[in-house]
Symmetry: C2
Subunit: 443 residues, 2 copies
């Protein structure tokens, strides 16, 4: 097919985190399995490739004003995969705060249990609060986190490849169950990890679960080039998105990979209604939920500007910005994206925050179903992405609106699948079956 | 009710691990989600309290002759909970090879997602091979593992208690979502862990997931007395079982707890058929799958005897046994249980292995449905247990045979529930709602 892939984010109450304040919203929905079950069924009916959920292992102070981090995503999305048959699940996991053996084993099990619908979204965790939950005196710096992530994925992928096809013999007559010569330890000894292996059971239907990578820093880009099947990214402008995709493809090629085997999934916050007027009315309603003063402080800090210099309606021009990305920035990807936006001309914090979907930083796309479909088509045809991760502005409304209003238009245009063509997520993303990476010692 | 609780083990191919060799067996069933889905539905229809699965994070050499460790149990049993509505899930997890924050968070999420059916079976992992998968030069000794487990459970239970009821305010008018004064850090600093907390979300329906403990060593018993809601244990004789239950109850009382709030679930391997003759025929068939020479060596080593001194049919008498439990013994609980059996009179390794269900060490109970029901009733009335964890000899046959043939007899006698009286596992086990353990600092 010549169209694109679509993932849908389950983030609740929405990528406008303050959407819980709207009259129709259930403020407890982010803890309610029946809410998520309903969304999963809607997504599967629309032939969405996968549902997605961001995560970080800590409570953040923003809980005072909105739900933030929610239920453990492996547990939650595993439960959703169990009640669907084709929907993929993209589960965010931290390489900084997990051990590679446990993570490899869990996702391998999920691949078996879902019959090939498991994907892990690898992050290194940007939340400093997480460190204190795992015995670290301070959050490791980004360079260290990515060095660890690189070794982590090297270990995980080799563990996934540890059993050759045919390792289970199951010869009832002789009583021989497995051929130990076909089950390989990895005997890894590195800077961060020492892991013998093998995993207890052979690979699942995908060989390896799909590996998604989501960081835009130098370390994240290197990781994406070496390991990622899918790169989840952020862009406010088409130019930034095209350049990013070209860069990732070049990195994959430099690592000896086929660049077509790295798919770019671009995040976009969608607010969609039956008419543009209704979408614009809902947009204003969502803007009214935002604590604009606090978000202005957060934004200007992320840009390296001193507190109080810019109020919500004071234009920031490119010349106001310090060189480079400040050390304390929440995310390199979001900083670059916001700077690209300001580079187009002066913007007030309010404009940046609204266009960044209430502070999420992702591009906000507002309109009728037809307008949203037009926009996605134009961005796709401009070479910005191989697919989109749709992030509902208000999940209780926009998740279903996207699935029921926008998807049929995309299908009509031949841009999105009408049926699940392959039972595995890897197959649907048109990714290759992973090659065995090594031939290590037997058990 | 005056009856007992029943859990059913999903171990596949069965607690006779070589049952995969039987003509009817599917040797790949232990990797097949549809096999487990079928069992879960059978269990729920029979009103079984929970399904259970043992685990350890390593491949063991025995894979050459039989499936051993299988799919990650959190992932597998989570998927089974998602397709059932009342069935509990008892999921084995290692305190030696997990971090308390992640484990607490996952089981808390599972409690939300299952609406109060989550239980964690805490083990310290007796498999030396696991250490090499987690960067340890050698497997920590039992005393160290239990000291860690004690601190681990202290951290986990305090994390679970971190959010007071009412912490979520969700005041749409003021925009205040949570009351930070009611969300508590734990700021734990101990020998093994430093954990700040809190967890990202409030407690699920059970307050705390049910805590099951399964080790019979001194450290395990201390842990059970201090923390366990349910103790899963092994006994070959009624005398050993009664003494064990009395001991655990006394330990709970000494720790200031109500002894009725610690339930004993006694493991028993069940081989059951419509008639005794058919059960005996199947018993002989299962014995023929056993590699008796190798199992004899494993048994005698566990008893501290030199290799080769006793063949499969040489009687071992109590006087042959060295004092105490040898350092290398697989499990203190199983060693004690086997010694009690030999104390009744000389036993050959073959007898011990057969009576210990092919080397699992648990008591083997063979018979017609009526005979199995009689036996469980007699053991229950003798004060050996508050319930049983039924471990099918050949899971592809005995799981359903137990649920369909034995359970109705137990229900008829008023010994087992006809309906799920409470939506939560904690309620059905007649356990109290956990008290908050502490009042630590706010966020």
């Amino acid at each position: 097919m010549t169209g694109f892939h679509l993932n849908l984010s389950l983030m609740t109450p929405g990528h406008f985190r303050h959407a819980w304040r709207l009259p129709h919203a259930d403020p407890w929905a982010y803890l309610d399995i029946s809410h998520f079950q309903r969304l999963a069924r809607v997504a599967e009916k629309a032939r969405i490739d996968a549902v997605f959920l961001g995560d970080g292992p800590a409570l953040r102070g923003e809980i005072e004003e909105a739900p933030g981090t929610g239920l453990d995503p492996l547990v939650l999305l595993g439960a959703l995969a169990a009640i669907t048959t084709d929907l993929g699940v993209v589960i965010t996991s931290s390489t900084t705060y997990n051990s590679p053996y446990n993570l490899a084993r869990r996702f391998q099990a999920l691949d078996h249990v879902t019959r090939g619908r498991a994907a892990v979204n690898i992050v290194t965790t940007g939340t400093p609060a997480a460190a204190a939950n795992f015995g670290l005196a301070e959050h490791p710096d980004k360079e260290t986190r990515y060095r660890r992530a690189h070794e982590f994925l090297d270990v995980v992928t080799r563990l996934w490849d540890g059993w050759e096809p045919g390792a289970i013999v199951a010869d009832k007559a002789t009583g021989r169950y497995a051929d130990l010569d076909r089950i390989h330890r990895i005997d890894h000894e590195g800077e961060f990890f020492s892991v013998a292996g093998p995993l207890p059971v052979p690979a699942g239907p995908q060989g390896r679960p799909v590996l998604v990578q989501a960081g835009g820093s130098a370390g994240g880009l290197a990781l994406a080039g070496d390991f990622a099947d899918v790169v989840f990214t952020v862009a406010q402008t088409r130019g930034k998105a095209v350049a990013f995709r070209d860069d990732i493809r070049a990195r994959a090629a430099a690592a000896g990979r086929n660049p077509d085997h790295v798919k770019i999934s671009l995040g976009v916050v969608v607010l969609v209604a039956a008419t543009e007027a209704e979408a614009r009315r809902r947009e204003r309603e969502l803007y009214d939920t935002l604590p604009i003063e606090r978000l202005t402080v957060a934004l200007t800090r992320n840009l390296g500007l001193p507190d109080g210099l810019f109020g919500p309606d004071d234009p920031i021009s490119p010349a106001d910005l310090p060189e480079g990305i400040p050390d304390g920035a929440f995310s390199a990807g979001f900083s670059v994206s916001t700077r690209e936006l300001i580079a187009e001309g002066p913007r007030t914090p309010r404009e940046v925050i609204q266009r960044g979907a209430g502070g999420s930083g992702h591009r906000l796309l507002v309109g009728s179903a037809e307008q949203v479909a037009d926009d996605l088509q134009a961005w796709f045809e401009a070479g910005t992405a191989d697919g989109f991760t749709i992030m509902p502005a208000d999940t209780s409304v926009d998740f279903e609106n996207f699935a029921r209003l926008v998807v049929p238009i995309l299908q009509e245009r031949g841009l999105f699948q009408r049926d699940y063509a392959d039972p595995t997520l890897r197959g649907r993303y048109e990714l290759p079956w992973p090659a065995r990476t090594s031939e290590p010692a037997t058990v």
